[in-house]
């Protein structure tokens, strides 16, 4: 489907509840004289999973940034769970994203970062969730490492782990499969399916067709605006 709405019929068949998690109408983003997104519409029902695809530079990450409120669009309307995305704590308790890379705290180990995220979001760091996610993403052995010493692939796993140890209703992931090996991608796809099964909604950008098909995502192809 090109720049359009996700099929609500198919979503309802999968047990998706009514209502939109994300609704984008007439979204336009321009950088100077370059128009990246031109009147894009997108509807992601609650419980659905959508993969934005398309060649480099068509505006996948830009669309995700607009959905998370990290970038103001030049035109159009974006709502997340019926309200405009904002910088309030209430919004960020529902939405978890890897669109932006956090600056990890110096001197805090990988394990301590995950526990910090879990505690700050009101979770119990000793309930096994941190261990489970660390095992899933293969970073258990990095528990005592400082983030500054991690490789780019390990950082990607760490960022995903930090995103998964906290509760959320909507995951906005920018190429979550990048820099992951085949086994990790498979484990990640399984985890995302579990997330959806528990009622979560997923909007992601991806270049890996096998991966987003494994997750069970509906594809929305973005293309470069004409002219």
């Amino acid at each position: 489907m090109r720049n359009g709405e996700v099929s609500a019929t198919r979503d309802r068949e999968r047990g998706v509840s009514d209502g939109a998690a994300v609704e984008v109408t007439g979204l336009t983003v321009t950088y100077g004289s370059t128009t990246v997104l031109d009147g894009v519409g997108l509807r992601v029902p609650v419980g659905a999973v959508v993969a934005l695809t398309g060649e480099n530079g068509v505006g996948k990450s830009t669309l995700l940034r607009c959905v998370t409120g990290l970038q103001a669009p030049s035109g159009g309307v974006v709502t997340v769970f019926g309200a405009a995305p904002d910088q309030g704590a209430g919004f960020w308790r529902q939405v978890a994203t890897t669109v932006e890379s956090p600056t990890w705290y110096h001197g805090l180990t990988v394990r301590e970062h995950l526990e910090l995220v879990r505690v700050a979001n009101g979770g119990d760091p000793a309930d096994g969730r941190v261990d489970e996610v660390s095992g899933l993403l293969g970073i258990t052995g990095l528990a005592d490492s400082l983030p500054i010493t991690l490789s780019s692939g390990q950082r990607q796993r760490f960022l995903l782990a930090a995103t998964f140890v906290r509760p959320s209703r909507l995951l906005v992931l920018d190429e979550p499969e990048q820099r992951l090996d085949v086994g990790a991608k498979r484990a990640l796809a399984g985890h995302l399916r579990d997330y959806l099964a528990t009622g979560g909604t997923l909007l992601m950008a991806s270049h890996d067709e096998q991966f987003w098909r494994d997750v069970g995502a509906d594809e929305v192809v973005l293309s470069r605006p004409e002219g």
Binding site: A89, R93, T103, H106, G107, A120, L146, I148, T149, R166
Partner: protein, 513 residues
Amino acid sequence: MLPVTATREPVTVPASDADVRRRIRRMRVAAVGRVDPSSVYCVLLAIVMAGVLVGRPLGAVVWPAEAGGPSVPVLVGAALVLLAFLNVLRRTGPLVVTRADATWLLVAPVRRRALLTPALLLTVFTAVVVGGLVGLAVAGRVAGRPAGDTAFAAGLAGGAAAGLLLVLLAVRCQQCPGTGRVVDRLTGAVAAALVVGAAVERLAGGYAPPGAVLPPASIVLVVAATVLPLAAAALVGIWWQLDGWPTHRIVEAAATTGSYADAVYAIEPSFLAEQGARRYWRRRAGIRSSRLLRARRVPPLVAQDLLHVARRPGRLPWLIGTAMVPALVVDGPAWLMAATVLVGALAAASITGEATHADASNPATLRLLGLTARRVYGQRLVVPTGVAVLWGALALGVAQVAGDLSGPWWALGVAAGPAAAVAALYRARASASSIGTIFIDTPVGAFPSGVLLWLVNGVDVVAVLALPTVISLFTARAPEALDWSAVLTQAAVSVAGCLVPLFRRSTARTVGL
């Protein structure tokens, strides 16, 4: 299109140094043009003007008209300058190439010796100049008047020899990171011990070391004459082995000095702090995950700050050392005492500034944590307040013992602690580029105001919130005693300063600082 091919055989003969230099020179000329004679004239004129302007005062500092004999401040000051020079050498390499050379020439078949020789020569030259000046400054205060040529030569040669030994030590540290870590810790501990020693000497009412604390000039000259050739031989040995110098050490030093150059070019001092922090934590080993966060006995960001402080124990000697400084100036002008207390308390409270700066420059982590600005602010205030309270109590308590102060000064230090913590948070949040985008026109070009504002950022806040303390430092001098009402006033102002940001409605809702 030509097919992409792999080189069948590696080049066995390295490019000649002369060819490489000639090619680089041509490329630079093509890029930026030849050196303009007017630029050379301006540089020479600037050097001459600097010599005229600061030559005489510098001469008076290095070689005063009258010698007061050896004293603790002179010896401590000389040692601190040499330790600071060693620190600079450690931070800059000392064997380093530019980032561009590290990227293009280090990985090319070019001889390392040719690349690193300029850095070695510059380091040796600087060490001889700095060491020689320090040696002269000591000799100028110790040698009786009229001082003979022997005293002059001994100061110069002894200082130069000390400078070269520091270069050898720094190069050794660059080769062996383990040795480097030990030397860095020792340098910090010795510097703090020297400051504490100077403060104790002050508390004890002054101590005049015997004239024989330093060896006679003739002996210094003989020792220097022995050390200098040996150090020179060792440096030649290092130069000879430069071809085998490990690449990763040079790349690391190039990245570090490159970021220093960025900080200077962008006039953004926070780059330096960030670079220093990255360097420290990249090398920090032996950390085990703590159970402090898992236990949930303290709020998460307080736990994080506590872990951060506990994992940088090398700062403790500096904290104690700086707390002694007010005792050294307690009998000096009141403005100097006030400035020392304010800046010292601000520096002590800035001990957890890295995390606050990271949160302010990139709030992505706070969004991940889902914490409101109010909760972040409240939690981030706890540890700096504790540190500043202890520092203030120690600084003003010791100053009272050392000087002519009476009354509950230690309590005033405690009361001023939260004010310093609030100011430290303000300071940590800002970078020079974020607080001053206005350019000031100067005869030598436009200059961004950010760096000037950054220098006083936080100091202005602590100056306002610690006004009762400042007023007391000006007025409650002997025979007047400090009154408890001043302490209570300071406590009230400090608490008010802490609470003001919490009353902003937006802080209860938004993420970020």
